[in-house]
Structure formats: C-alpha cells, structure tokens
C-alpha cells in the first residue's frame, strides 16, 4: 500500500505543479441522476402496465412526460458540461464508435424519439395499443441507455474505482430505485395497496442490492488496486466521509427500513417519504462516487 512505501522511503514531493481540480463535478451528477429517473420510470411503467393493466392505465401519459423532461434534463446537463458546447454536433458528424460517449449520444437520441412517439400516441392519438407497442421498444433501448454511462466509466482507465461490471449493476439499480421512487410519487393514492406493496418491494430490494455493492467496494476494493485503496481513504475518514454516509443512509438505509415497516404494518403512506429520501440520497451517493477518484493525483 502507498503509505507503507512512503514510510519506507520517506519520499515527499517538494516541487511540482498544482494538482488538477475536479473536472466532472455536480453537472455530471445531475446528468446521471436525471437519466436514472428518465429510464427508470420507463422500466416501472412497463412493469405496471404488464402486471396491472387495468388499474395503472392512467400512468401512461404522466410517466412518459416525466421521462421526456428528465431525459432532456440529462441531455441539457450533458451539453452544458462540454467546454465547447456548441460543437456537440461533432458527435453526430465525426463519430468515433469506440467511445461510449458516442454510442450513448446516439442511443439517447433514439430513446428521445421513441418517447416523443409514445407521447404522441397517448396524447394526440389516444391510442393505447400504439403506446404500449412503442413502450416495448423503449424499454429495450432504456437498458443500454442506462448502461452506457457505466461503459464510459469503465473506459475511464485513470479511475480504478469505477469498474465494470459493478458500475453496470449500480446503474441499473439506480434506475430501478429512481424509477420506483418517482412512480410512487406520481401514482400517489391512486395506486391500490397491492401495487404500492409491489413498488415498495422493488424499491427496498434495489436499495439493498445497491447498498451491498457499495459496502463490498468499501471493504474489498482496497484489495484490488493501490489506487482504489487510496481513493477510498477519502470516504474512510477523509473529506467525503460524512457526505458518503449521508448518501448511503438516505438512498438505501432509510428506504429499506421504511419499506419494511410499511409492508409489516400494511400501511403505505411512509413509502412517499422513502421515495423522496431515495431520490435525494441517490444524488449524493452518485456525486461522491463521481468525485473521489478525481481527487487522486495521477502523476
């Protein structure tokens, strides 16, 4: 480990340029967070319309609108983070297909097209069958749209903390958590207790799985690579420790507890608090995970 090497050689940097600042900051956190809601709500809409077609038909329009708004938020934050934002069209006219950024931009564009088609089907044509057909394709595309950011993180070879396939699992779980939380807030009391219970179970299990992955990284990550060990120091007593734990508690622990209490008591009003907590916590957790590898000096 690095600190043992330092103790042995007593090596100290005495003259160098200043460390680079954080390059991907809160704008990229907003990007990932908004995308989780945008694709997650589509997963949940598909699930509810398949399992409870009669009781949940009303969510068709609000769900697609939420997805359209959040995916555009995601695109907005993607573009404003570019240092040359008015050149974003280069991605389409000079595409480099080995880049997850390129693949993601193309897929997200297709995803927006399908969402607009769904909105047209339900709002203008009032055609539920067409909406449901388009939803099938949209769900399929939502999977790689959710995952491409994990691909991008995996291609970021400088940041050892971001590993495949863990990041893929985290991205899908984040989409399920964000989608369920948004659906719980969207459906409100119009959902029956059975549906609320189903949503609660998805939220609770996704939160548990994501929490296990974070804890596994925290405990076993340092054994993988020296860089991972050094990065995790920032959340093991370092400057991001409190923020990391606030994120973990709000995103995963509070929702797990509230879901458990709700199911036990068969009373589901607490699920809305769980949903808000999950959405806030998810932003914080993602932000910490995004920022800490960037604090490490690369050279």
């Amino acid at each position: 480990m690095a600190h043992e090497i330092i103790a042995a050689t007593n090596a100290v940097v005495v003259l160098d340029v200043a460390l680079p600042g954080i390059v991907w900051g809160w704008i990229i956190t907003m990007n990932m967070w908004a995308k989780s809601i945008g694709t997650g709500i589509i997963f949940l809409t598909f699930f509810l319309l398949k399992k409870y077609p009669k009781e949940t038909g009303f969510i068709r329009f609000p769900a697609v609108m939420v997805s359209i708004v959040t995916i555009h938020l995601f695109l907005f934050f993607t573009v404003i983070d570019l240092h040359q934002m008015f050149r974003f069209w280069h991605i389409f006219f000079h595409p480099h297909m080995t880049s997850a950024i390129t693949i993601g931009a193309w897929m997200a564009t297709g995803f927006v097209g399908l969402l607009l088609g769904m909105a047209y089907a339900i709002y203008m044509k009032k055609d539920e069958a067409l909406y449901d057909r388009l939803l099938g394709y949209t769900v399929l595309l939502a999977v790689p749209v959710t995952l491409y950011t994990a691909g991008l993180m995996a291609q970021s070879t400088a940041r050892e903390l971001w590993q495949m396939p863990t990041e893929s699992a985290q991205m899908i779980l984040a989409a399920l958590i964000a989608g369920t939380a948004t659906m719980l807030l969207l459906g409100g009391n119009k959902f029956s207790n059975t549906i609320k219970k189903d949503l609660g179970i998805i939220l609770g299990l996704s939160a548990a799985a994501a929490f296990i992955l974070y804890m596994a990284e925290l405990i076993f990550g340092p054994m993988k690579a020296e860089e991972v060990a050094a990065v995790l120091e920032y959340i093991k007593g370092g400057e991001y420790t409190i923020m990391f734990w606030i994120g973990q508690v709000l995103a995963f622990i509070v929702p797990m507890i509230l879901v458990w209490v709700s199911i036990k008591k068969e009373s589901y009003y607490l699920l809305k608090i769980a949903a808000v907590s999950a959405l806030i916590g998810l932003w914080i957790s993602k932000h910490v995970w995004l920022v800490i590898p960037q604090l490490l000096n690369m050279s």
Binding site: N10, V12, D81, H94
Partner: protein, 212 residues
C-alpha cells in the same frame, strides 16, 4: 515508424529547461503544462536524495484517451504520435478521465483538450521536439523505435534491465521510457504530497479550463 521518447533519469538535473522550452514552443497557457519536471525528495537527513522526473504524454500504443474520444479529436498519426485536433474537440473531458497519467488538460484559451504532441509540427519538418533541443545534458532521447539503429533503440538495448514505463499494469503500452526510474519517480502514490507543495504555494489546485 514508431516514434518514442526516453528520459535517462541519471542524467536529468531538474533544470526545467524542457518545461520552459515546451511552454514557449507550444504556447502552453498559464496554469497548464504539457510537460513538467517533478521533484521528489527521498530519505531522511543526512541520507537524502532529490529525484527529478520529467512527465509528459506517453503516446500509448493502446491509448485510452484515443478510445474514449467521441469525435476522434485524439487520433494516431502514421508515425505513432497520439495527436490532438483542437478544432474538432468538444471539450467533454472524457480523455482526462481516461488517461492514467494525468497528461491531458483543458486549455483555458481554446476550451479544448491539449497535451504533449511529441511536437508533431516540428517532427513533420524534420526537427527534434523543442524539449529535446533544450535539454543541456541530453537526458531526453527521441527517435524511431522501429529502427534498431536509432539513438533511442540503441539506448534501450544498452540499458536493458533498467528501462521502465509508467504504470505498465494499465496495459496502455507507453512509447515513453525511463532509464534509472523507480517506484518513487514513476509511481505517484509512492510519495507523500502535501497540498501547497507546488510552484504556486497559494494555489493548491489547478483551475479546470480556467474556471475555479
């Protein structure tokens, strides 16, 4: 042709001539660096030693920066140089996340990525890179790795067993070698780095693209 660099750390005396020559040649703006020389002190008094390590882009054969660039602004030249087209770059900073050597920065004037190009413009005119010319002790050796008779190839042959690259475990296959390097000089995690131990004692972090 495969152009490469080699720095003999036994020879480097930390004069930073290469750093300044690079800045001037490539008009590298304030607070940004294509090449820098890092000083690391080793040992405890009176058994101390100061090490000097010039650090620049490695022009990797398997370059993660080139792979992640969505618009091919980072691209290979036929001579193996990983070059950058600043007019094409959209400033997404993906390359900064991908380069394991921190070799890329956002140029605050153009708001695009920039890095050492092995002075591709000079090489195209059969000139040596600016930093090579400036080095008073010829610690920087530049040439064609595919040519066994080039200076760099001969140097590598003569120093077999003592030729290193940075972070070989990353699989980037750098075309930039060091002779006489070690953990302290080549592994950034092997030395303690206090904030403020920089050329600018009141500036601990570089502004990204000119923004604080």
């Amino acid at each position: 042709m495969q152009l490469g660099f080699l720095v003999d750390l036994h020879l480097c005396m930390g004069c930073k001539g290469c750093e300044i020559a690079c800045k001037v040649e490539n008009e590298v703006p304030l607070s940004t660096w294509r090449l820098r020389v890092k000083y690391v002190d080793v040992g405890a008094f009176p058994e101390t030693k100061r090490t000097f390590t010039p650090l620049r882009c490695n022009h990797c054969a398997n370059a993660p920066c080139e792979r992640i660039c969505p618009v091919s602004a980072l691209h290979y030249l036929e001579n193996g140089i990983v070059n950058i087209d600043k007019d094409r770059c959209i400033g997404c900073a993906g390359c900064i996340m991908a380069c394991p050597y921190g070799a890329i920065y956002i140029d605050p004037q153009t708001q695009t990525a920039d890095k050492c190009t092995y002075c591709a413009h000079r090489v195209a005119s059969s000139m040596m890179p600016s930093c090579v010319v400036a080095c008073p002790v010829e610690a920087n050796i530049f040439g064609d790795l595919d040519d066994p008779m080039s200076n760099i190839s001969k140097y590598i042959q003569q120093h077999q067993g003592n030729v290193q690259v940075r972070k070989p475990e990353k699989g980037t296959e750098p075309h930039h070698y060091y002779v006489g390097g070690g953990n302290v000089t080549l592994n950034p995690l092997a030395s303690f780095r206090a904030e403020g131990h920089s050329l600018f004692n009141n500036l601990t972090h570089l502004p990204v693209g000119g923004h604080h």
